[in-house]
């Protein structure tokens, strides 16, 4: 019998106690993994937003608390446009409001003339007409939710807009929202002449990294965004989610650690005599430690698997809610599950230290006499 099987057999001797401990730890791990999936998905959605329209990079206001709160003026657009390496700058105003059943319907205001420089694959209908004010293009998710078709009408912020086209970008924000003339969004948002982000296309052969570094150096109030690493300059929300995730992970390790310690201490005390016998037949202290720590690790690995499965089911369930679906599409990447496993290992090690220490200190003679 392999040693690992012996460890497993010990674990299942007290099925109810082991089961309850696994349940408790798996709840903590499910919270860590689910939050990791949501954070990762939110980051992906944000990263997608930066690459929208086939731009080389985006520009936002340095220090904004949230990407969507970034506010730029026409003068900022001019500053970026003045760089000779820049081929075109599209200013975009983002707005969110309740449309249909979606409480956070994303509205992307853009000058229809800029659509010529903005890659927006049309699957049905056409683009916005230059000068038009009452037109809208919808993403496929939005069209489905609103049951809208090309030629139909939708209500956005008390404006009746005609659906002129359906596009598909593969990004959560855009596919779940709509693109409409920026003049219309300026009007109902009362943000005349303002932009949330600038999407920049450079001329062929441009060193984009050098250009963005120059823009930031010469205009410290602007933040250039090429990827997720830059997002923290204009979005504190994702950082907060990361911090929250770390906090929950640490809490899970401590609370889970105490649960494991309780289970393992009981197991060690109940098996005092048995541990004495194992010492009597020649087991070294190290092997006793391996057995106790092995039981704790196995307990936590089972909890990690259960917790991860629960987290996947949970995230699949919550994206059924339109509020959540508007922002994220769950991403199941290995790193979030590895984080869950690491939390499990942390719980196991923390929970096993004391019981293993106690078990290793038993004198074989005393342990055998123990009743």
């Amino acid at each position: 019998m392999p040693f690992i099987l012996l460890v497993f057999r010990n674990l299942i001797r007290q099925k109810i106690r082991t089961g309850l401990t696994v349940l408790g730890i798996s709840i903590g791990i499910a919270a860590v993994v689910a939050l990791g999936i949501i954070t990762k998905s939110a980051k992906t959605s944000t990263a997608e937003l930066l690459r929208v329209g086939g731009s080389d990079f985006a520009v936002g206001r340095q220090g904004s608390s949230d990407l969507t709160f970034s506010t730029l003026a026409a003068s900022d657009l001019q500053k970026v446009e003045n760089y000779p390496e820049v081929a075109h700058v599209s200013g975009v105003l983002l707005a969110f409001s309740k449309v249909g059943s979606n409480p956070y319907f994303a509205q992307v205001g853009i000058d229809p003339n800029d659509l010529a420089f903005f890659d927006l694959p049309i699957v049905e209908g056409r683009r916005l007409e230059p000068g038009a004010r009452d037109e809208i293009m919808l993403g496929p998710e939005a069209a489905k939710q609103l049951k809208a078709q090309v030629g139909g009408q939708v209500e956005v912020r008390d404006q009746t807009l005609t659906v002129v086209g359906i596009y598909r970008t593969g990004t959560v924000y855009l596919d779940g929202g709509g693109v409409l003339p920026i003049s219309t969004v300026w009007e109902y948002e009362r943000k005349e002449g303002l932009y949330t982000l600038l999407y920049v296309k450079t001329r062929p052969g441009t060193d984009v990294a050098a250009l963005t570094a120059r823009i930031e150096s010469e205009h410290p109030d602007l933040a250039t965004l090429r990827g997720l690493n830059d997002v923290s300059d204009v979005d504190q929300g994702l950082q907060m989610m990361d911090a929250l995730n770390l906090g929950i992970s640490i809490l899970a390790v401590f609370i889970g650690g105490i649960a494991v310690m309780n289970t393992m201490v009981m197991a060690v005390f109940e098996r005092t005599r048995e541990i004495g016998i194992l010492r009597a037949v020649g087991w070294r202290t190290r092997r006793i430690l391996q057995m106790i720590v092995g039981e704790a690790i196995m307990l936590c690995m089972i909890a990690s698997v259960v917790g991860s499965v629960v987290a996947v089911l949970l995230t699949r369930f919550i994206v059924l809610l339109p509020t959540i679906r508007a922002f994220i599409s769950p991403e199941y990447t290995p790193d979030v599950f590895v984080r869950g496993i690491l939390v499990g290992v942390g719980v196991a090690v923390l929970g096993a230290i004391y019981p293993a220490y106690r078990a290793a200190r038993f004198s074989p003679g005393e342990a055998i006499r123990y009743e």
């Binding site: 001797r13 048995e274 010492r279 020649g282 087991w283 092997r287 003679g365």
Partner: protein
């Protein structure tokens, strides 16, 4: 030609409990030759089990020396290897792990010897066969009779092929028939394998199976 050293040599051994209030072993001196079958007898509380535990290195003496096969074990820091390789232990209660089968119980001491999984299993089955329990190898302790459990415990004590077997009241919890079977098993091992056996018993009938009987009283060796 040099003479073989004694299997076990004990000199002025003292072991106290309760901060010195109870002198369980009080200056015991004893020598057991290799291949000898010795029974230690005496009334309850005379210190015979404590003496056996000291030889098994389950306890450390307060003073005195224990020399096993020429090596003084009282000076050793780590006694795990000694317990794994030099002595095999049989207790009054079988002390088998209840969640493991008979064959798995016999394998337990072998984890420390570095034997592979298949070799462990092969050897464990061989020992159970020696004990007449080949057909009960897959049974767990609660599915075995008292005598069978004790014979599994004997097989376990032989797992690592130790030269010395220490048995503490091996028939104490058994009826006479089962006790006789266990004694027959011990005698067979002694005769066939030339093992040194030191057995503690309070039963004169059981002690009579031994080559030599040592009597203990109040922690001291009285005769033998």
């Amino acid at each position: 030609m040099s003479e073989k050293p004694p299997a076990v040599e004990i000199v002025d051994l003292v072991k106290t409990f309760d901060q010195g209030q109870t002198r369980a072993v009080d200056g015991a001196t004893l020598s057991v030759a290799q291949g000898e079958f010795v029974a230690i007898t005496g009334p309850s509380g005379c210190g015979k089990s404590t003496l056996l535990h000291l030889i098994a290195a389950l306890e450390r003496p307060d003073s005195g020396r224990i020399v096993v096969l020429g090596e003084e074990i009282t000076r050793r820091h780590d006694l795990s290897r000694y317990r794994a390789r030099t002595v095999g232990l049989v207790f009054q209660l079988h002390n088998l792990l209840p969640n493991l089968t008979a064959v798995e119980n016999v394998e337990v001491p072998m984890y420390e010897t570095g034997l592979g999984m298949r070799e462990r299993r092969r050897r464990a089955l061989q020992l159970l066969e020696l004990m007449g329990l080949a057909d009960k190898a897959r049974r767990r302790p609660p599915q075995l009779s008292g005598g069978e459990r004790q014979r599994v415990a004997i097989a376990r004590s032989l797992s690592n092929d130790p030269p010395i077997l220490l048995a503490d009241e091996p028939t104490g919890n058994l009826d006479s028939k089962a006790g006789r079977n266990v004694m027959e098993a011990l005698e067979a091992i002694h005769h066939q394998h030339g093992l040194t056996i030191i057995m503690v018993t309070h039963d004169p009938g059981i002690a009579a199976s031994a080559d030599r009987i040592i009597k203990m009283l109040d922690g001291r060796i009285e005769e033998g």
